[in-house]
Amino acid sequence: MWRKIADWYGKWEDEQIAVLERPELASQVTSGHRRLVYRSFAKRSEVERQQMRDFCIALKGWRGWFVTGLLLAAFTLCGVGLHLLAPGIGWGAAIVTANVCGIALMFALIGAWFNYRELVRRKFRLVLTMLVYALLAAVATSGATLWISDQSPAVVFDKLPRMLALILGVGLALAAPMLAIGFWRYRQHDALVEQLQRDAERDRLARELSESQLRLLRAQIEPHFLFNTLGAVQQLAQQGAPRAAELTANLIDFLRSSMRDMRSEQVSLAAEFGLVESYLKVMQVRLGERLRFTLALPRALEQVQLPSMILLTLVENAIKHGIEPALRGGEVAVSAEAIDGTLRIRVRDGGVGMSTLPGPDSGGGTGLDNVRHRLRLAYGDAAGLRLDDGAPGLVADVTIPFAQA
């Protein structure tokens, strides 16, 4: 018998925990009233369900029985205490009263502990309900007293306000801690939800940042760039050409500044132009006459900060998809300009242009996607990347808001 009850209760606990974990399971429960309870679980917030689940798991199995036993023992002790303090109340009555009150109080507190959002949202209804019940209870008790005892109606009627006050007092004494717990838990819940949202947002940003840095890293150590450049260095060195040392110096410059860029979020425009210059110098040695370039950075804009690697990505794109596939090559012009409180960085190439832009699935578009993404992370909708037909070639414009010094 005992075994059976324990088994049944154990299963019920498991079911409850499962539903708290996955509220959609509620609809699979066949029993009507249990399904009703579980539906109410589904309406609660994630945090509330989590709290209830933790509670259920903490009191699962023998622990639940043990705590219940402890509580009943404590209530019984209170009953004994009550009898000793007020010998007028019999042993039995004192113990039963203490247990009933204790269990009621426990349920009320647990109810408040887990239904705090409902409780706070409906606090006026709660108080009102309590008042109405107190009134009804007082009237009912008076009626019963009249019915059972032979006290005169006048005496009973005289006692009514006192009884009302007593019941109300007990009620409010019960309601006050419930509401206090409710409000306290409610605030805790909001803080927790906010904290969780902040954590999730921070994780997301950190993940996006490291992903974009990883993509940049991969782009830099692309075998094409590194191997072909080293091959060019090797060839020049073998020929004993003084350009070998110059090319190596530019490659070192380029690698060093791109490592620096990868470590920092924001860099100065001057640093970016330096990085791009060393890259273009390397590419010029490799491509020969097919690549010409110009760089124009006004002195006033040198210290303007912008997200790292954006400019380099655009220039790499111009070389890879503009100049390299062009039969006769072309010119790359990189410039920065301040126009009405916005910074406009323009990369124009005289290469093959729009018609041979890589298709969306060829993977070549990820560089530009990356630029757009980083601009959005840093400036929201205030910054943008625009591509136009350069006839010949392509014009890429990045606009960034900045405070003019």
Binding site: P223, H224, F227, N228, L230, G231, A232, Q234, Q235, L236, Q238, Q239, V285, R286, L287, G288, R290, H321, E324, P325, A326, L327, S355, T356, L357, P358, G359, S362, G363, G364
Partner: protein, 252 residues
């Protein structure tokens, strides 16, 4: 017999490196064609018909893969590539040689040794080559090629916009290309070898180094002797010579 070579590579230093390497490890071979892009490579191939073609895969104009596709079994092809392992796996499975850039002397020596023994036999069979090229094309990231739909050409004082589908044939005329249509003809400044890569090869057939014909406009091809053929075009009295290289297009 002295083996003849074609070298196509777009970066000047890489090109010099390969040429110097070949001079070292294959002194008896003669380099007939040095090309800076795919278009020149294919044109030079048709002109000189070398025994071996060293092709960079990523080049302006026709890619190394496209040039190899056109060369087919007419020569031995060696790809020169900077691509990483996953593409190299595709090479290893196939019959075609490859060199990783930057080309190192010992690797080149080995490739040359293999080529020396291969040259005694005819080049790899066409079906295996075609299969390999298909694999490589899907394995390597490629630029999306736009096909030309319209060609702007001056006719007298006018600039005509010509729908390529209406062109009967293109013919090379030194630095110009002659475009022949049903009612008129025009000259454009772009050489035929550069126009070629932008035309749909299923639609526009090259029948000679200097001639590309719209397959829809072909009336018939007739045999002149054992080696030579000519093409008759609908709506034109001209007879277009088919060079030996392209006679296979008209085999039944």
């Amino acid at each position: 017999m002295q083996p003849t070579l074609l070298v196509a590579e777009d970066e000047p230093l890489m090109r010099e490196r390969l040429l110097e390497g070949l001079a070292q490890s294959w002194p008896e071979a003669r380099v007939l064609v040095v090309a800076e892009n795919g278009n020149d490579a294919w044109d030079g191939f048709l002109e000189h018909e070398p025994d071996v073609a060293f092709l960079d895969i990523r080049m302006p104009g026709l890619s190394g893969l496209e040039v190899a596709e056109r060369i087919g079994t007419m020569a031995h092809v060696v790809f020169v590539t900077a691509y990483d392992q996953y593409a190299v796996d595709a090479f290893d499975a196939g019959a075609v040689d490859y060199l990783l850039k930057p080309v190192q002397a010992d690797r080149l020596e080995r490739a040359v040794a293999r080529l020396r023994s291969k040259l005694a036999r005819p080049p790899a069979d066409g079906a295996a080559m075609g299969e390999l090229l298909r694999q490589l094309k899907s394995a390597l990231p490629g630029e999306r090629k736009e096909r030309t739909k319209w060609i702007k050409a001056s006719v007298g004082r006018q600039v005509r916009v010509i729908d390529v589908d209406e062109v009967l044939f293109f013919q090379s005329d030194t630095r110009y290309t002659r475009i022949v249509l049903r009612d008129y003809e025009a000259l454009v400044r772009t050489p035929l070898k550069d126009l070629l890569g932008t035309l749909d090869p299923d639609r526009f057939w090259q029948i000679h180094r200097a001639t590309v014909v719209n397959a829809n406009a072909i009336l018939a091809a007739e045999r002149i002797d054992a080696e030579r053929m000519q093409v008759l075009v609908k709506g034109s009295d001209e007879k277009l010579a088919v060079s030996r290289t392209f006679v296979h297009l008209f085999r039944e």
